[in-house]
């Protein structure tokens, strides 16, 4: 019958859409990740999908790729209804996907990764030969150079992504899904990726591109769908829309990218970092000779593509990792340098607070009750109980106050933290770190996975702290956010600070710096 449906489809139209999703619905426990999604992707086009974090983009694509199962709904590929129960079915249907988080076996070679699942026979030997040949061909056709015998774990992300694309193509994908591919790429790498996509399109293949970055959408997509809160709110031809319209559709109302704030009145230097260098356990240099200072009453933003040392910078200053060399001083007191580098607990004592980049991994214990998380890191504070003891009442009263002030919902300090939404979880962390009125505040990804309402709230809080004369260091992958918040912007590339700009500097220029090329050199 599906065949019949297919013909029914096929007639009339010139060619059926490459992909057609009908009434897709998906829940994760309480999360309604996808609500009755209907989507048509025409053959031979690049179709963009934009949406905030948590909008449901990845979920939708994972369903199309058979990684998750939809609770209800139907999928048509090239007009024929297909029943996709596993990635296997999707691959058979000619769908390939490059996941937001790569699906690679790191100790394996590129070759092994590509052939995994399509070994062509119970023995590997023949398969290996075949894959080599194929890789050569694909390399020529799409300029996807990568050494087949390199161990994937040792490749830079850019190349790892190529391996993912190769995997898909090797499996004969007609439709290629890329989930936020540029998040980890330098502009240069991104450009290369886009050339590849254009190439694929020229070959008649279909591409679905997920991203938050409107610039990319406008640059290469033919059509674009906007997701919000698990629904598709609009699908339009790219040339008929503007970034502003898209942004509005994404967040449901006009975004004010500029946070209106009074000019800063910097005071004495509260955080100073001198010649900071950090090598990780593998001996790889993550930070080399980083120096900067932040004065009271100013916000300094760090711009940079993820993975260029921002995370390490935060963690070293916060005492989570010990610097290899260099000096750090908080509020005039040396915290790292000649002597032993102070530990996180001691640093809090010095008036340093830290909102970590990843609240799930570091900022919270999601299995704790909200009130227990509200004291994480400050639990030794005598206010929470004398001597070795911890007073529940003291802790909970305190937590209730915060919930009040920071409008954390639901207002229940006994609720398990995992059951708060991302945005509210972020508020729990912010409340905890801001409340102790620190001299220096480190903030990583202040609004990652946070809804627009919460974004504004959080931004306002940060500005307020600045105006209260604190020194604030903001790290964010969202350039717009950095520009909106900062009084000064430091650009990081490959573990070093490659430039300082004012927030109103030309975006292109900052982008080039982030890509590691000096504006003059580029010019």
């Amino acid at each position: 019958m599906s065949a019949v449906a297919g013909q029914g489809q096929g007639q009339g139209e010139t060619s059926p859409p490459a992909i057609e999703l009908v009434g897709i619905d998906k829940r994760f426990g309480p999360v309604h990740a996808n609500r009755d999604i209907n989507l048509r992707v025409e053959k031979g086009t690049i179709h963009g999908i934009v949406g905030e974090n948590g909008a449901g983009k990845s979920t939708l694509m994972s369903i199309l790729y058979g990684f998750y199962q939809a609770d209800s709904g139907m999928i048509r590929v090239a007009g024929r209804e297909v029943n996709i129960r596993s990635s296997d079915d999707a691959i058979d249907a000619g769908i390939g996907m490059v996941h937001q988080h790569f699906m690679l076996v790191e100790p394996f070679t590129v070759l092994e990764n590509v052939m995994l699942g399509v070994e062509g026979g119970a023995l590997l030997t023949r398969g290996i030969a075949k894959v080599r040949g194929e890789l050569k061909r694909l390399e020529r056709e799409y300029a996807l150079e990568v050494d087949p015998d390199a161990v994937v774990g040792e490749l830079p992300v850019g190349l790892q992504q190529r391996v993912e694309i190769l995997k898909a193509l090797y499996r004969g994908a007609e439709t290629l899904i890329l989930d936020e591919p540029t998040g980890v790429l330098t502009p240069a790498e991104a450009d290369h990726l886009f050339r590849i996509l254009a190439q694929l399109k020229a070959q008649g293949k279909t591409v679905i591109l997920i991203t938050h970055k409107l610039r990319e959408i406008m640059a290469i997509t033919d059509a674009v769908s906007v997701m919000r809160r698990g629904e598709i709110v609009s699908t339009v031809a790219t040339r008929e829309t503007t970034p502003e319209q898209l942004a509005e559709a994404m967040v449901g109302r006009r975004v004010l990218l500029r946070v209106n704030k009074a000019p800063a009145h910097p005071g004495r230097e509260l955080l100073s970092v001198e010649n900071l260098t950090f090598r990780d356990s593998q001996g790889v240099t993550r930070l080399s000779d980083v120096s900067f200072g932040i004065r009271a009453g100013e916000i300094v933003g760090i711009a940079g593509v993820a993975g260029n040392g921002q995370s390490e910078l935060l963690e070293v200053i916060a005492g989570i990792r010990a610097p290899s060399s260099g000096r750090i001083a908080v509020a005039g007191q040396e915290t790292a340098g000649t002597g032993r580098a102070l530990l996180p607990a001691e640093l809090r004592g010095c008036g340093l607070a830290h909102v970590p980049e990843d609240r799930h991994r570091m900022g919270l214990v999601t299995a704790f009750e909200e009130n227990e998380n509200a004291i994480l890191g400050y639990h030794r504070d005598p206010a929470y109980g004398g001597g070795p003891f911890l007073s529940r009442n003291a802790v909970r009263d305190d937590a209730r106050k915060r919930i009040e002030q920071y409008d954390i919902r639901p207002p229940n300090c006994r609720l398990k933290t995992a059951n708060f939404s991302g945005g509210n979880q972020q508020k729990i962390v912010l409340a905890r770190e801001m409340e102790r009125d620190p001299q220096v505040l480190l903030v990583g990804q202040p609004t990652r996975g946070v809804d627009i309402g919460a974004i504004e709230f959080i931004h306002r809080q940060l500005i307020a702290m600045r105006d209260a004369g604190k020194a604030i260091l903001v790290v964010s992958v969202e350039l717009d956010e950095v520009r909106a918040l900062s009084d000064r912007i430091l650009v990081m590339f490959d573990g070093r600070i490659v430039g300082e700009r004012m927030p109103d500097a030309d975006e292109q220029e900052i982008g080039l710096l982030m890509a590691g090329m000096d504006s003059k050199a580029a010019a």
Partner: protein, 409 residues
């Protein structure tokens, strides 16, 4: 192999509990769905169901050998509770299991799976024995026992220290190392007993019997006040020590800053580091406490009962602790109850052998294993069904949860 992985009271996490072994870096809790089981069902009903399941399966085994399971249960229950001496023995075993269960549970809250309680108790007995042999001629019991108690703790803790150190500083998986330390403890004790403690001319490797100077008063007298006759049951003051230990553990885990840090390390080591908690320090402290509790266990059989150091006197109690902790959901109250259940099993099982020869005492080992299986490894088997059932009854509770989810919108 690096810092241990969450395996705390939130048993969902236990899947990662052991990846302490393996995980390169800590992984977030794996949680099939937000846990929506109300506490009463979670902490009472579910364990009950698991135990029942264990009993049913063992019942089948009993049937297979042509015995009547119900009859067996009758005999066991009578043997365990039917008369004074039975009760005495039941509580005597219970004492051991409380200590063992607490030892396992404390480690568990820091995400550590201590399979080494057996060995730690064994070595703890060595400490107690040294003190007893040295002082029993000179001091009264109330002077000797406290010192022996400290020695037992110290020796038990010391035996736990090396695996702890290896886990904390070298990232060696504590499950593997504690297993091996059980074997090492055994080798060590055999060697000592056979070569040093054994009485010349006697046949079995055991220390010389202690005098009154190293004994712990039996509770026979106390019970006789209430008209109960414990007969010759070795039940002694240690049971109160066990209850005190249970209270201690409760306070430690949920009412102290150290306990808070332990649970943080157990549930999210990365967050612990961020919070300025030294995971390796917590791992070592935790294992020292755990080992000390296991060491305490030794007092009961060595000084409280046999009054001499014997080969293999722990005789599995340390392993029972695993079952007890799992069944008691790592909470002291649950542990005491679970320990009582196993105490009854051990005593009742012994009686069974008198009246139902074809049902040997190994049955208890089976039940013990099945409890660990159902309450531990298969805990997700009944949970979903139960959750559905319970939520059908109490729908409002479920709605609240969803609202929690939608709240942010």
């Amino acid at each position: 192999m690096s810092s241990p992985i969450p395996a705390g009271p939130d048993r969902k996490a236990s899947g990662d509990g052991i990846s302490a072994a393996t995980a390169e870096k800590p992984k977030a809790l794996a949680r099939p769905a937000p846990d929506k089981l109300p506490a009463w069902a979670d902490y009472a009903l579910l364990p009950l169901i698991n135990v029942v399941a264990a009993f049913v399966v063992s019942g089948l085994a009993v049937l297979m050998v042509g015995a009547n399971p119900l009859e067996a249960v009758k005999i066991m229950v009578f043997g365990a509770l039917g008369y004074g001496e039975g009760v005495g023995f039941t509580l005597f075993y219970t004492t051991n299991f409380i200590f063992a269960g607490l030892a396992v549970a404390v480690a568990y809250h820091s995400g550590l799976f201590n399979i080494g309680a057996e060995g730690q108790a064994y070595v703890g007995g060595l400490g107690a024995t040294f003190v007893a042999l040295a002082l029993d001629h000179f001091l009264p019991w109330y002077a000797t026992v406290p010192i022996a108690l400290v020695a037992a703790c110290v020796f038990g803790a010391a035996w736990a220290f090396i695996p702890a150190w290896l886990q904390a500083r070298r990232g060696s998986h504590i499950v593997i190392t504690t297993i091996m330390f059980n074997f090492l403890a055994n080798a060590l004790m055999v060697w000592l007993l056979v070569n040093y403690f054994i009485q010349p001319g006697t046949m079995d490797p055991a220390s010389r019997p202690f005098t009154e100077g190293a004994s712990i008063p039996k509770l026979g007298g106390l019970f006789s006040l209430f008209g109960a006759d414990l007969g010759a049951a070795p039940l002694n003051l240690c049971i109160f020590l066990a209850l005190i230990a249970a209270v201690f553990v409760y306070v430690l885990i949920w009412r102290t800053k150290l306990g808070y840090e332990m649970r943080t390390v157990g549930l999210n080591p990365t967050a612990a580091v961020y919070a300025g908690i030294s995971t390796s320090r917590i791992i070592i402290i935790t294992m020292l406490i755990s080992g000390a509790l296991a060491g305490l266990l030794a007092l009961n059989p060595v000084i409280g009962d046999q009054q001499r150091l014997q080969l293999n006197f722990v005789n599995g109690a340390g392993f029972v602790g695993i079952a007890v902790a799992l069944m008691g959901r790592n909470h002291p109250v649950g542990i005491c109850l679970a320990a009582l259940l196993f105490g009854m099993l051990y005593q009742g099982g012994a009686e069974l052998a008198f009246d139902m020869p074809q049902v040997s005492r190994e049955m208890i080992l089976v039940i013990q294993g099945l409890v660990i299986l159902f309450a531990g490894a298969l805990e997700h088997m009944f949970r979903p069904g139960l959750t559905r059932a319970v939520n059908m009854i109490s729908t409002p509770q479920r709605r609240r949860m969803v609202e929690a989810g939608e709240a942010s919108r």
